[in-house]
Symmetry: C2
Subunit: 241 residues, 2 copies
């Protein structure tokens, strides 16, 4: 099952179809030993730029998934589809509205067995995604834990995604998300640029997502694969569950 | 598992703790052969009136579930808890906000194994619940189907609940909800008062909920158990799935 495959990911790269990447850099990313390449972004995502990037990644063996942010860019040729549900969005469009519209239009053609919903908690108020979704992103640890619990138990989401997009996150809030889940997988993404950050994220999360770093230091980005693989995940605070 | 027990329900009564019911009427409801009694409502629900009603129902063997609408009235002694998520609410509080708040306060004490989330689609714009949740309740068949699909596939909800609260629904929209689901159970509630309506609802839905009728014609309400049991559910439109 797809969600089991996703559950095995320790490290993934996220590529933005709206940003240029050289063939050389893409080659290094795709041969890095990462578990998967995710293609997706917030701004300027089109069918054309997504398709172009997918074709280039398809020269490699690495699994390639689309993180869907706009229904007009969906491409069936991906190995699977990650569907973000922004749990702390104040604009219900990003919680459910855009999804409802896409399902209304394409519902009977959606290959649900290749779809993995992600319960996003957006925590960097300055990020583009926070502004777009009007995310209530100044959250206490308790509030983050509650979103994670809600994602797992009320919505049975296979993935809870702590998203800092653009800056490295507060480890206490990543731990707070962990405290809310038992079976769901914890993804962390945002601002990883040093070996220490990659290792810390690997201790706290099941899956570490590296994105932005690819575009300004591909060497360092490739190194995160090793840093994450060398680092065991710390045990969850089961006593709190 | 609780959601399997809920999945076996063909007929249930819903009692409103904020409405008076005589011992005689309650006796008839609880001995009617219904699969379960649900206690819940929209207005004036308190710990006290819920507890009073639960105590009275507990004299009988019938399973008794709480449909939670306010965190201050939750009572652990119920057999299980149904948690409505109003999918077509324009006010995100009824989609996720109230749930997040309750989970933040009580999260670690919630017996999730006894909780069944319900994906509500509220379709009577004149109902109290539609006004409270600011439900976008004038929906096309396509839109209802899309909400049902979303509930099953994105949120993995065991129950999709078509709610007309106060008047009998449009069979085309109940069928539209059915067309969107494969594994989730379809609940129908709202305005059932005649044998014909009970039978039609039983053909269209997995579980028929009878509420209001209890309070003005308990004889007719008790009869709905038989009407529902005698009626097979019609086959789903699998070709559309």
């Amino acid at each position: 099952m797809l969600s089991e495959r996703v559950a095995s990911w320790r490290h993934v790269f996220k590529l933005d179809p709206n940003r240029a990447i050289s063939d050389g850099a893409l080659d290094r990313i795709c041969r890095s030993g990462t578990d998967a390449v995710i293609i997706g972004g917030t701004d300027g995502i089109t069918f054309e730029n997504t398709w172009e990037l997918l074709k280039r990644v398809r020269r490699y063996d690495v699994p390639c998934y689309q993180e869907v942010s706009t229904k007009s860019a969906v491409i069936p040729e991906f190995d699977g589809f990650l569907i973000p549900v922004v749990l702390n969005a104040e604009d219900p469009r990003w919680l459910i509205g855009a999804h409802h519209e896409a399902i209304r239009l394409y519902g009977r053609y959606i290959p649900w067995e290749r779809v993995v919903p992600e319960g996003y908690v957006v925590l960097n108020p300055d990020s583009r995604v926070a502004r777009l979704t009007k995310a209530r992103s100044s959250l206490s640890e308790e509030e983050v834990t509650a979103y994670a619990r809600l994602a797992e138990h009320l919505f049975r989401m296979p993935v809870v995604y702590v998203e800092y997009s653009g800056r490295y996150g507060d480890p206490r809030l990543i731990r707070a998300a962990r405290a809310g889940i038992v079976r769901s997988r914890l993804f962390y993404g945002g601002g990883i640029s040093t070996p220490e950050q990659a290792r810390e994220a690997a201790r706290l999360a099941d899956t570490v997502v590296v994105g932005n770093l690819i575009y300004y230091n591909v060497d360092a980005a490739v190194q995160t694969v090793r840093h994450v693989r060398e680092t065991p995940r710390e045990a969850g605070p089961d006593a709190l569950r």
